[in-house]
């Protein structure tokens, strides 16, 4: 039996502390770490160190997929490129058409807001980040992106893609960050119905395509096909960006609240590249005494 081949199999001649003592020590250490991390938030530096240690592994795990993408690009066929080019030109034309009046509308908007003395948060600057193909927990909707505090990413930073709101950063490491998607069952985002300004909160369902809007009464003015945009309340997400489209409204007479399901505007399952957004004005302070922290607390629970 191989097990008895070496000195390892003589447990009586123990060296160092016994397993019981070690377990006691490590158990206390782990509980202490959890307490410090959860309740005090002292462990940012340790986290940074550890995420720097695991980042190379994550990049290595991501590399076959990245290599495949690269290969796919290199051996792109002429027809495919031409088709893609035609599609892109079509889209560019559409976008240009819509942009024609944008400058004028923006000015008008500013003027009107100036009259009302209201401020709005407009996304000023963005960088493109890549979602690493790394699986964290199949029952959660969290991702790792390849931009960290070195690139200016910060906790609570909103993430968008070309079609809508994607999520927000929950922890910014040095080279990489963890983000929660709006479809995570623990995420909530303040929204309003674009058609009539009806405000509510959209919760994630755990399903990458669907959000639920559970806080609207059965007689609320909302119908299938309504666009739901971020309301900007809570101070995490800038207002006015598409979040979801209502796909189901169930008004059961026995319930107080309607059961509303909406499909996410962003392609959460297909995104490879996302945008990290900086807004020009500071988040709206709901608690003025605490200028820095309240964003995450009020806006949405990460």
């Amino acid at each position: 039996m191989v097990a008895f081949r070496n000195a390892e199999s003589r447990p009586i001649l123990g060296r160092g502390p016994s397993p019981g003592l070690r377990f006691f020590f490590f158990g206390l250490l782990a509980i202490g770490l959890m307490w410090l991390d959860q309740r005090q938030g002292y462990l940012e530096a340790a986290r940074r160190g550890l995420s720097m240690a695991t980042y190379p592994i994550q990049v290595a795990v991501n590399s076959p997929a990245a290599f495949w993408d690269w290969l796919h690009d290199v051996f792109a066929t002429r027809e495919r490129l031409q088709k893609e080019n035609a599609q892109l030109q079509l889209r560019l034309r559409d976008s240009d058409f819509r942009l024609m009046r944008f400058a004028d509308l923006e000015q008008e908007n500013l003027r009107l807001r100036g009259l009302r003395d209201a401020t709005s948060r407009v996304a000023q600057r963005f960088i493109v980040a890549e979602i690493l193909r790394v699986d964290l927990n199949p029952l959660r909707r969290r991702v790792i992106i390849n931009k960290g505090s070195r690139d200016g990413a910060f906790k609570g930073q909103p993430i968008l893609d070309a079609t809508g709101v994607v999520g927000q950063i929950t922890r910014a490491g040095t080279f990489s960050s963890e983000a929660i998607l709006i479809a995570d069952a623990e995420h909530a985002i303040p929204v309003q119905v674009n058609r009539n300004g009806l405000r509510t909160i959209a919760l994630g369902t755990g399903d990458l395509h669907l959000l639920s809007l559970p806080f609207l009464p059965t007689n609320a003015d909302i119908k299938v096909g309504d666009l739901v945009v971020s309301s900007g309340l809570g101070g995490v997400f800038p207002g006015g960006y598409p979040v979801a489209t209502v796909v189901k409204v169930d008004r059961a007479a026995t319930q107080t609240n309607a059961e509303i399901v909406a499909e996410t505007a962003a392609k959460l399952d297909r995104d490879r590249e996302v945008l990290l957004i900086w807004t020009d004005e500071p988040p709206i302070d709901v608690e003025p005494s605490e200028p820095a922290a309240p964003a995450a607390k009020n806006g949405s629970k990460p």
Partner: protein, 158 residues
């Protein structure tokens, strides 16, 4: 072979492989059934060579899992330490079990591991009540003979 000349390279390599396998992207249905590779690796070494890594290995591997999965620091470390401790206490018995019997023991160790994670998830306010979270314990135990065979090859070289 004395303790000082104990070759830890196969053990460390298998730990890195376990960590990679535990975050490797998989299709969603397979992802749900993904066994806790790193946990099984640590359990294997603590049953076969408890002095090589033991609880220190379990603690450090747990911290790596915490960091790479982005949960509260110490969660996987505590869970892994607990089931490694039980494995070390039982290692002389488990070692001579037939392999299917070992798999049954490992099943309960994995259930204890998942239970600790479930419990700490609940305490830190990130509860997952989906029953599918227990699936890795079943798949991990079912694949134990395969892991024992593969790691057994590595063990011969220690």
């Amino acid at each position: 072979m004395s303790r000082d000349t104990l070759n830890r390279v196969p053990m460390l390599l298998s730990v890195v492989a376990g960590l990679i396998l535990s975050i490797l992207p998989l299709p969603n249905w397979l992802n749900l059934a993904r066994p806790d590779f790193l946990v099984i690796v640590v359990l294997y070494w603590s049953i076969m060579v408890p002095r090589a890594g033991g609880l220190t290995l379990a603690f450090l591997a747990g911290l790596l899992l915490d960091a790479s999965k982005g949960v509260v620091l110490g969660q996987h470390a505590l869970a892994l330490c607990l089931c490694t401790y039980i494995a070390i206490k039982l290692h002389l018995r488990v070692r001579i079990f037939p392999v299917w019997h070992q798999a049954l023991t490992v099943f309960w160790l994995l259930v204890i591991y998942q239970f600790m994670l479930f419990w700490i998830d609940g305490m830190t306010g990130h509860q997952i009540t989906n029953y599918l979270r227990w699936l890795p314990a079943f798949t991990g135990a079912a694949l134990w003979p395969v892991f024992a065979g593969l790691l057994g090859n590595a063990y011969q070289r220690t």
